[in-house]
Amino acid sequence: MFQLSFMRHAFAAATIIAVVSGMIGVFVVARNMSFLTHTLSEIGFSGAAFAVFMQWPALLGMLLFTTLSSVIVGQLSSDETRRESVISAVSALFLGLGILFLSLSNKTASSATSILFGSVVGISLPEVWQLVILSVVVFAVLLLCYRMMKFDSFDDVGARANGLPQRLLAIVFLILVAVAVSVASQIVGSLLIFILLTLPAASAKYYTHGVAKMILLAVLFSLVGTWLGLYLAYLSNWPVSFFIATIEVLIYGSALVYRWRVNN
């Protein structure tokens, strides 16, 4: 399997993606932002379609659209109920735009499939390096504000009481999510991105009660899903996203069973 260069690239990319999404995912789950992550992935689809239309690399379009929109969402009022509906409206608009861009660029069917559901085969060595660089940036930023981000994400009332810069932290975090979404969609595709950004972290929180341990466990769960998924996809020729989704759902299911057994 590793004689094939595209499989080597795919495994390298999958590893990077698993680490970034497991790490960011813990904060996504703590901040109750799973819904927003889903929206950002739709916006990412639109960005990728725009990039295809402009004949840019897909990653560039995704980064542009997701970071821009996450800054805008960060400026929205903190009124929770309105926020959800505004986010829905934004995501509907971007899905529509994505379909328009694809149709204008005359590449509809195959590009759409690979953007929406991911494709392992397509990843080249320079693209792997792009992912490495983006991931290092995400990791460095998160490390720099780790304690504040932890406080703000796991106890926003306490963080406000202690005068933390919550608006700034919210925007920084949204940008980190935007980059993580763009990175992760290279493998699982934009439709299934929230799988890697939410399920491993949501499972991890049932097994352990510290932030660092949750991050380690979430990264581990993502790695199991992506590595095993790639291997099974290689053996069976079925889509890798299918396997990753199934494995992560199984991990989440067993976490729920574990919690139920501990509490009863």
């Binding site: 932890k150 306490g158 009481a161």
Partner: protein, 207 residues
């Protein structure tokens, strides 16, 4: 609500009880003290560099809240880049957990803790930063009688070691039991003084 011409002081080691019905401006008062609101006129003189610890009234933590009591309390070390706790920080954390009687249950998830343990964890988190003034907003409101006294016994132990406390409540019994001074906020007016001058109940206070 609006607070007019309010003038009061909290000195070191005071246990100032701020008492009054809902809507007389207790929350506005705290927000001004914490610097979230600026008074339209007048000044708030805080000792330069005064460290204020604030225990808010509401926390939205459900039964699924994942952090252990220890990790929740430790959140209030935000101003360092080092991701892990230093030896000094770990020591300080352990000391606070013991002083707030949380050391034995510290590894349990906070979401599954009792109401009293939760309030003690909120208190411990605020005390971790070694404040000189502690502001507690209705911290006993959700507790049963025994737990109210247990929590405030802990607080008054810190007060005896020099911590100033500003305790917002509408529980007159607790006010008289723990306060050293009171500030009674009423619509359009206020009274203050040593705790033994606090009227017996809100009805008398309104006359």
């Amino acid at each position: 609500m609006v607070v007019h011409d309010l003038s009061f002081a909290v000195n070191q080691g005071d246990f100032l009880v701020v008492i009054g019905e809902n809507g007389v401006g207790k929350t506005t008062l705290i927000r001004s003290l914490l610097g979230f609101l600026t008074p339209q006129e007048g000044t708030i003189n805080k000792q330069a560099g005064l460290r204020i610890g604030y225990v808010p009234q509401f926390r939205n933590l459900d039964a699924e809240y994942p952090l252990s009591i220890r990790d929740f309390v430790a959140l209030n070390f935000p101003n360092t880049i080092r991701p892990w706790l230093s030896r000094d920080e770990r020591h300080r954390l352990q000391q606070i957990l013991e002083q707030t009687k949380l050391a034995e249950t510290a590894e349990r998830p906070l979401g599954l803790a009792s109401g009293g343990e939760k309030q003690r964890a909120y208190l411990a988190q605020a005390l971790l930063a070694a404040p000189q003034l502690l502001i507690m907003d209705e911290s006993t409101a959700s507790l049963d009688n025994e737990m109210k006294f247990e929590l405030l016994d802990l607080v008054s132990r810190f007060q005896q070691q020099g911590l100033s406390v500003l305790f917002i409540t509408h529980d007159w019994e607790l006010a008289k039991h723990y306060g050293t001074r009171y500030l009674h906020l009423m619509p359009q007016e206020y009274e203050q003084g040593p705790i033994n001058e606090l009227p017996a109940s809100s009805e008398e206070g309104d006359e």
